[in-house]
Symmetry: C2
Subunit: 422 residues, 2 copies
């Protein structure tokens, strides 16, 4: 940062599906910005980037220090997030120009965008357009995705906590099934998130110590589903162990790319029945073998489960928020802080950064050497990668038996511009 650079405000926004630790990143951004003499106020977008477009900015200086600190143990998006992808500059120039207009009106010189692949693309475009319009904005992405599919970072904040939730839940439900199998349920199916990459399902593999332990079968999007091979394996498990625990990624698909969840089921009125690959897989097993089964769909429970967050994940989420501000005030533009693994045992990590141009719109899938040769489990290498990410507990405070999560007041910054239709 140049000396005597003018103090400018910062804009922070949450984007896409939220996580158990995205607010920890918000906390890292806000607390670090507060200590910087280059940054004035941090304004947060209400409902993410939509808040910038509609000039609905939350003044974070109106929140108490305790509330800001409390974000570190509060799940979901405290300021509101948005599934709202700005298209290319050509199609959507008006929206990008509006962003710059709002930034200019509120003396915003820093843009921290807390999201996944799409958001990194948006942050990059804003930095380019700001420069071309003569209003330079330092744009730094803050990585967040439970899907763990951002490139150039060893892992993504948000993933470790989902991974922990899934591994813990799989271990617990497996004990349940094992204890009932002789006279009751023999097959249990847990459906987890991960539309395109199998990271979350793979994390269930931490529940046991190898192919003899649960989960007996993991169905990954990276491995084309072979029905007969799967059904044979289920029968073998029930024969050998008395029961079978299956974890299936919502993105599990046939060889031709169709999702298993897209089972063509119809309700009584002939309408397409809701997805849910869990029940589809359970039904397959029932029809083939007749075993008594149960299935669970964790859905939002898994990504909101701050009560069982990974301590490493919470620390990394905070650290990338902090690093984003430090990079920005040093004048490093159009980058995203990354997690760099120095060693796995003991686990050591540090913060690096990558250009947004190399991160935007790219997806990192499970590498082949993380997948067992039979396709139904994870390798020792995958386990070494995953294990440190779920390490440590980071319990929120409780009152009356319930976690006390922070709530923001959300005081709005006075508007200076006219309306804009989103």
């Amino acid at each position: 940062m140049k000396k005597n650079a003018p103090v400018r405000n910062a804009f922070y926004a949450q984007s896409g599906g939220v996580s158990a630790v995205i607010n920890a990143s918000a906390c890292g951004v806000i607390e670090t910005a507060l200590r910087s003499k280059h940054i004035g106020k941090v304004y947060a977008g209400r409902d993410g980037i939509v808040g910038a477009l509609t000039e609905d900015l939350i003044d974070t200086t109106r929140e108490s220090a305790a509330t800001i600190r409390g974000l570190k143990h509060t799940p979901a998006g405290a300021f509101g997030s948005a599934r709202f992808k700005l298209k290319g500059l050509e199609q959507n120039r008006a929206e990008y120009e509006r962003l710059i207009e709002v930034f200019r009106a509120h003396n915003i010189g820093y843009f921290f965008y807390n999201g996944g692949n799409d958001s990194m693309d948006t942050a990059l475009k804003v930095s380019q357009l700001g420069a071309s319009l003569g209003y330079p904005v330092t744009c730094v992405g803050v990585p967040k995705t439970v899907d763990n599919d951002l490139p150039h970072t060893d892992c993504c904040p948000g993933f470790g906590s989902v991974a922990k939730y899934v591994a813990v839940s799989t271990r617990e439900a497996s004990l349940d099934v094992a204890s009932m199998a002789r006279t009751s349920t023999k097959v249990f199916v847990l459906e987890v998130m991960g539309r395109h990459a199998g990271w979350i399902a793979a994390a269930a593999g931490l529940a046991g110590r190898g192919p003899e332990e649960t989960p007996h079968i993991i169905l990954l999007p990276e491995v084309p589903f072979e029905q007969q091979k799967f059904l044979d394996r289920v029968r073998q498990c029930v024969t050998d162990h008395g029961y079978c625990v299956i974890v299936v990624s919502e993105g599990a698909a046939w060889a031709d790319g169709r999702f298993l969840a897209d089972a063509g089921t119809r309700d009584a009125f002939g309408h397409t029945q809701l997805g849910g690959v869990g029940p589809v897989v359970a039904n397959m097993v029932r029809e083939a073998h007749g075993y008594k089964y149960h299935w669970a769909v964790a859905d939002y429970l898994q990504r909101a489960a701050r009560h069982i967050a990974s301590r490493v994940d919470v620390e990394q989420a905070y650290a990338v928020g902090k690093a984003a501000v430090e990079l920005a005030v040093r004048g490093v533009n159009a980058v995203m802080p990354t997690i760099v693994r120095k060693s796995s045992k003991p686990y050591r990590w540090t913060i690096g950064h990558a250009p947004l141009s190399e991160v935007a719109n790219k997806e990192k899938k499970l590498p082949p050497d993380f997948i067992r040769t039979d396709g139904f489990g994870i390798t020792a290498k995958c386990r070494r990668y995953l294990e440190p990410l779920i390490a440590g507990e980071s319990y929120p405070p409780y009152r009356n038996g319930l976690p006390q999560y922070a709530r923001i007041r959300g005081v709005r910054v006075r508007r200076k511009l006219g309306d804009f239709k989103v």
Copy 2:
């Protein structure tokens, strides 16, 4: 207990659906029996009562003290449970006689049966038959059911932990939905257990502080489902709050008694589609209003979730196990220890007991004054009842990011009898 009464062994069995704390009751039984000079060894049935019928008895003295202690923080049924209901004495005399034969062969004078309504009935019949066959057995039930539907006890061990899981998960998922609602999911449905009574669904009501907070709608088995009223309420919630969180009991039913889950859905092959009232309700909302929705089915995850168990529940589960042994050695037969509430604020409880004859085969539903007049929520009275039951955390120990649950060795007692076909 009479002085100089002969030392006799005890038989302990787990029955029915397991819970996060049934092993804490096992721990209470075994540790207390170890300290009693009237009880020799505690034998546990492998897979519950099936283990007695097949003379597959686990010698708990072959487990380390650390393992027995570890049961207190280990979910599910460490010795195996069974869904196996002994029918009436008339139809099933051979099985009851076999039980007595096995008890006689192993000098078992105490029978501790850890289960719900059915199990209390079985324990009662065994005590009656033992007496009539000249082999008296002191039979004491140990209450366990996540459904909280046993009469004569203020609450049932197992319930408090499910209640806590459901309340915490509802609070967390609600924050997730709230933060995304502007541009994404507007309706979230969480399906929870409770086939006949709405206790578990009611516990979700603890997540918020009243009708303005989540869950906006609870669907209870005790309240006949009215579709239009429900759909109107959903629309009102989305209009007023921007989103709607619904918790539905698996036992939610139409006025004529049909389960909502029995929706007559068919898969592509015309087969009846699996239940899951969560997706059924979500689909209803979609068809009526077109809102974007998500649904989750917690299934076994909720009752196995020892990682978020209620401390009060763990303590009560241990206490009823301990009390069962204390009652038995005092010669009190055919009873079940109960939880007696002395006050709600502050919460004070003690242990009482009730005759098995008054507990067996009865179900306690949510009383009408626990249900809000609109049928979609709980009253302040219900909240006062529920709140103490989820109080306190009781975290298991962790290693490498995962809870370390106890595993028994399960050494089998040498058999003395011939085979018996179950």
